[in-house]
Symmetry: C2
């Protein structure tokens, strides 16, 4: 069997560890020179394939590829671009096959969330039909932790660790200030559809750190009165309160809390953010002085405090993607399989892309406490191992020395335009 080239692309919102998967994939592929020729990366994700804008990772040094392990973001660029259904826009899929055929690509590795697994599945089907069979492997990635079958998604553990740490640190701060100043701190976290990241805020408290926390999950309809009562109870009992609010929290009528406001001076809808809305509510109803923060990209890019477990997971699935391909598997995604909670033990498995595609895993109801404002012991048991361990990047001049790749283009063979 003659060596074929591989195509790798990063998809959707990037994470602190998606490059660790890329690192593993490229390092592992280089161990199979007889079967895998070049590893081409899509510049800006799948758009790079559609526009024949490929990056030759073979031109990067071993040191640069190794540095991907500790560099956050998507080193080749990512994109928010969902391929339509096969029936709706077959031309897109045909174009992918055309580009892959032109560049002798026999392996398609797609590193992303639900949509990406769906795309990888469809490409595998169409390759067969168009007589250019491809080995298609999905690689799990998402801070939202919403892929099915796999125990967790690389990227999530590091966000969870960041939010747990930040919540503990800010809670220590507000406790110091509460007598004469700030009594309530509100932190807004990601998670438009599921409360996985908000739940991680619950790890800020433990037996030795009794922190009064109120978590607002997207799964629990926001009850303003009940919420304010709880915050005030905490302030009375502890002197202060910390609130972790998911950006996706909704009222009973289905409207996002973040959209609660009015218009600005120019008639534009009020500038977003659930945290300022919640903070203002506390000020107006309870009169407590507040501070609020919106972590936004800081949380998912925070490679400086990535979870060691998460980095190991991310590397493992990147390596497993190549291993599965070498074993002749197709249309699968490596998964993380939890063997035991305490001590945490895990191994690798695999799932059919057909079973992964477009299925979302929500936060189980029994992970949320009965009052809707906290996490249960079951949730803690699940989350705890995912934030374990630190995996510090190297520093230069006081700042992490993240790598910037050369990202040299592969010479085009088709040179035909394709409109995105």
């Amino acid at each position: 069997m003659k060596a074929q080239n591989a195509f790798y692309a990063q998809s959707g919102g990037v994470t602190a560890v998606i490059n660790a998967s890329a690192c593993a994939l490229i390092e592992t592929a280089r161990q199979y020179p007889d079967r895998i020729g070049k590893v081409y990366a899509g510049r800006n994700g799948i758009i790079g394939a559609l526009t024949e804008d490929l990056i030759d990772t073979g031109l990067e040094s071993e040191a640069a590829i190794a540095a991907l392990r500790y560099t956050p973001s998507g080193a080749f660029g990512s994109c928010r671009y969902k391929l339509k259904g096969l029936e709706e826009n077959k031309a897109q899929y045909e174009r992918l096959i055309e580009v892959f055929r032109a560049h002798n690509v026999g392996y398609f590795f797609y590193n992303g969330g639900n949509d990406s697994q769906d795309t990888a599945y469809k490409v595998s089907q169409l390759g067969e039909q168009l007589n250019h069979p491809l080995t298609c492997i999905g690689i799990p990635k998402t801070v939202d932790n919403d892929l099915p079958i796999t125990d967790n998604c690389p990227g999530f553990g590091s966000v969870a660790k960041y939010i747990a740490i930040s919540t503990r640190e800010a809670s220590f701060d507000v406790r110091s200030m509460a007598t004469t100043s700030t009594k309530v701190f509100v932190l807004e976290v990601m998670g438009r559809h599921a409360g996985w990241i908000a739940a991680a805020g619950g790890l800020a408290a433990d037996e030795e750190h009794d922190i009064p926390l109120v978590i607002l999950f997207p799964e629990v309809p926001f009850d303003q009165e009940k919420f304010l009562t709880r915050v005030d109870e905490n302030v009375r009992a502890y002197g202060y309160c910390s609130v972790v609010v998911s950006e996706g929290v909704k009222r009973a009528d289905g409207k996002f809390v973040a959209e609660a406001g009015g218009k600005d001076a120019f008639g534009h809808a009020q500038l977003g953010g659930a945290a300022p809305v919640i903070a203002d509510m506390i000020k107006n109803s309870l009169g407590h002085k507040y501070h609020w923060a919106v972590a936004d990209y800081l949380q998912r890019a925070a490679r400086h405090i990535a979870s060691k477990t998460d980095v190991e997971h991310a590397y493992a699935v990147g390596k497993a993607a190549v291993d599965l391909a070498m074993e002749g598997k197709n249309a699968v995604m490596p998964t993380l399989v939890r063997v035991s909670d305490t001590p945490y033990r895990w191994t690798l498995g695999s799932a059919n892309l057909a079973d992964v595609a477009n299925v979302e895993k929500g936060l189980p109801r029994d992970y949320i406490s009965d009052d809707g404002f906290g996490i249960t012991a079951a949730c803690r048991t699940y989350l705890q191992p995912l934030i374990e361990g630190e995996d510090y990047p190297p520093y230069r001049n006081g700042v992490p020395d993240y790598v910037v790749l050369k990202n040299m283009p592969v010479e085009k063979k088709l040179n035909t335009a394709f409109k995105i």
Copy 2:
């Protein structure tokens, strides 16, 4: 000379390293048992002295005190409470002296910013007058870096490091997404009056990390058109742009940019934050998709990534406070003296509280680039050493194992009420 007790209080906004100063002070005081009896801490700062609510630090274990070195926030509680002028409210000062006399306090250590140095100075004057002479030593602390004479203020270096790292990480993220999604990232940082913290965002870029940054300083009147033009130029040249905006940025008419908006649905002033205002401006004028973050307390509590230099400074001034007292100095504050930039060398000095009190050190104009959107080489030379080195705390269950002290009260001797 018979041993007298010491009083220590933390004042104003807390930092990631103020407890390192407390750690040093207590550890050093314990080395002088013949001269310093107990170290009492004020519960919630100076309020603890006024209300005779003292904490006996002697009841804390050596391990607990040592753990203060890596625990952010104010372990004994802080307060925002400025004593009035001696003439206006002599009763407050007299009360302090009364409490200190009752508890045989002969040393007054006050850990804070400008106001606190002023208070320490006045206490030293009044103690003489009231025939209860006190050795009064100020200990510098402020994330705002605005104390005079000292090269820098403990607390600032760690915030600066956090902002430099976060800006680099988020910039990597937005660069990955820019082709199809977010093109501009806006990070709001602290600094109501001076741009020291905003300037630290400039350290995200260096020779190997060419990041298009626009910094908005409180010192530079905000010129909306010029700002938007610069952002758009960056987006055209790089595909993306990162903006670091100080909470204190003002328009030419002196109004805070954060106050630019209108009213919400209930008629309240629009919820704050300079970042959402700036982001909305970019969206409306340039049409670029944006993300924004407000770091708020996360930046000053982020002990998990404190600057090693800053921690060493904080410990050194805490120790020096006791050393100065033991040398018979009074009404002074230990200072950090820069000996050389590269390699960074520093030593300790001292300043008279009279010269420190109520003097604010601003960001020099020659630290801001001519266009007003960046930092100069001189600024980089000054800032660089302050963020050098990492000083990681110990972890337990994936989260820093910060200490919570017992904070046992000292038995009251006066038992008279004092209204705050």
